[in-house]
Symmetry: C2
Subunit: 211 residues, 2 copies
């Protein structure tokens, strides 16, 4: 039995794991979970991942990894080539730090903006098994967080092709998956972000990013 | 020159790094940053960590690691004994996954509850250089997140002494630093949480947790 990857092609989170699987050329089969139809909340998927979220990755022994953090750590340790989480202590630190920054400030801001305003996500302001009401003021704050992140990110990328080291890392993957989804909150990459644009165009040359 | 650790003894975040330094017996000097007086926002500290947050760790070459994710990754790679982030791929995955869960659902819930309600944190609803207004509804939601996390966590700890592996990991450290701080939002460990209590009492025997 090979690895089983629980995916949803329209969502930004599982795309992060999908790109890692592609970069490391890891054999796996795919099961698509239809988030638009709420399949992640159903009994069948809940028995696989009680968190009701994708991505999830079922290992050969039946263990299920239920989030991006676990999946990235497992794949890096099991399929170390190419390294996507750094090789030296400073690279590892810098990549971990950037992923934390991207998740807390950029991804979370985008999620707040979307999940607290979209009528289709009523009572689904947070992912997971519990329902939470939307908070309109939090949607506004999410947009402000995204603006602050992008402004600083544009400056950072002036002098580099990759975010956190001299080669592709999970920081580039996390940021690209978020930025590609930002059009849904009305924040696409614009001509006012030439450095971000150059970085993103560089990534687009990799087959793994065309998924 | 040794490592320089920027700390604040009253805050939960730097305590996570402090315990890792103690567990790994890493030589370092300490600079205390007075968060109550807003020292993290001042020019002097901003030149060290532009994120205006503690913990921060200055390396011998002058590089500054500016968050817990970076500090943990660096210390684990540089001082591998004892391992606090797992040794096998599955341990590494499980620990990373738990840290992500603790940060997103427990720590974030507590931070939302505190920072969106405490009058002393007006306009400081998020850490970092930018100001964000408090959102009272988000303080409420934070309390609900903490309740949901603790309920599930109490069940999880029924059959184990450590959260994510057979020995201490950064998941235990992250959860303990958060739970010890929960009294400030009116959510101390109670007798209704016997498993959490047993786990926390076990950790209390380690000198590193008395910091």
């Amino acid at each position: 039995m090979t690895l089983v990857f629980y995916d949803c092609t329209t969502a930004p989170s599982p795309r992060r794991a999908r790109i890692i699987l592609a970069e490391k050329n890891v054999p796996h089969t795919v099961v698509n979970i239809d988030l638009a139809k709420g399949e992640q909340m159903g009994k069948a998927f809940r028995s696989i991942n009680p968190n009701c979220t994708v991505p999830a990755l079922k290992l050969k022994d039946g263990t299920v990894l239920t989030d991006n953090a676990g999946i990235a750590a497992y794949l890096e340790a099991t399929f170390p080539d190419p390294p996507l989480m750094g090789t030296t202590p400073k690279e590892k630190a810098n990549i971990a730090s950037w992923v934390s920054n991207i998740e807390q400030n950029f991804m979370m801001g985008m999620a707040h903006a979307l999940r607290n305003s979209n009528p289709a996500m009523k009572d689904r302001a947070l992912p997971g098994p519990e329902n939470y009401q939307q908070i309109p003021a939090l949607a506004e704050r999410g947009l402000a967080q995204v603006d602050h992140f992008l402004k600083a990110f544009e400056k950072t990328m002036a002098d580099r092709d990759f975010i956190a080291s001299n080669s592709l890392s999970i920081a580039d993957i996390a940021a690209a998956c978020t930025i590609d989804f930002c059009k849904v909150i009305g924040k696409p990459i614009t001509n006012a972000m030439p450095n971000i644009k150059r970085w993103r165009n560089g990534l687009a040359k990799r087959p793994s990013f065309n998924c």
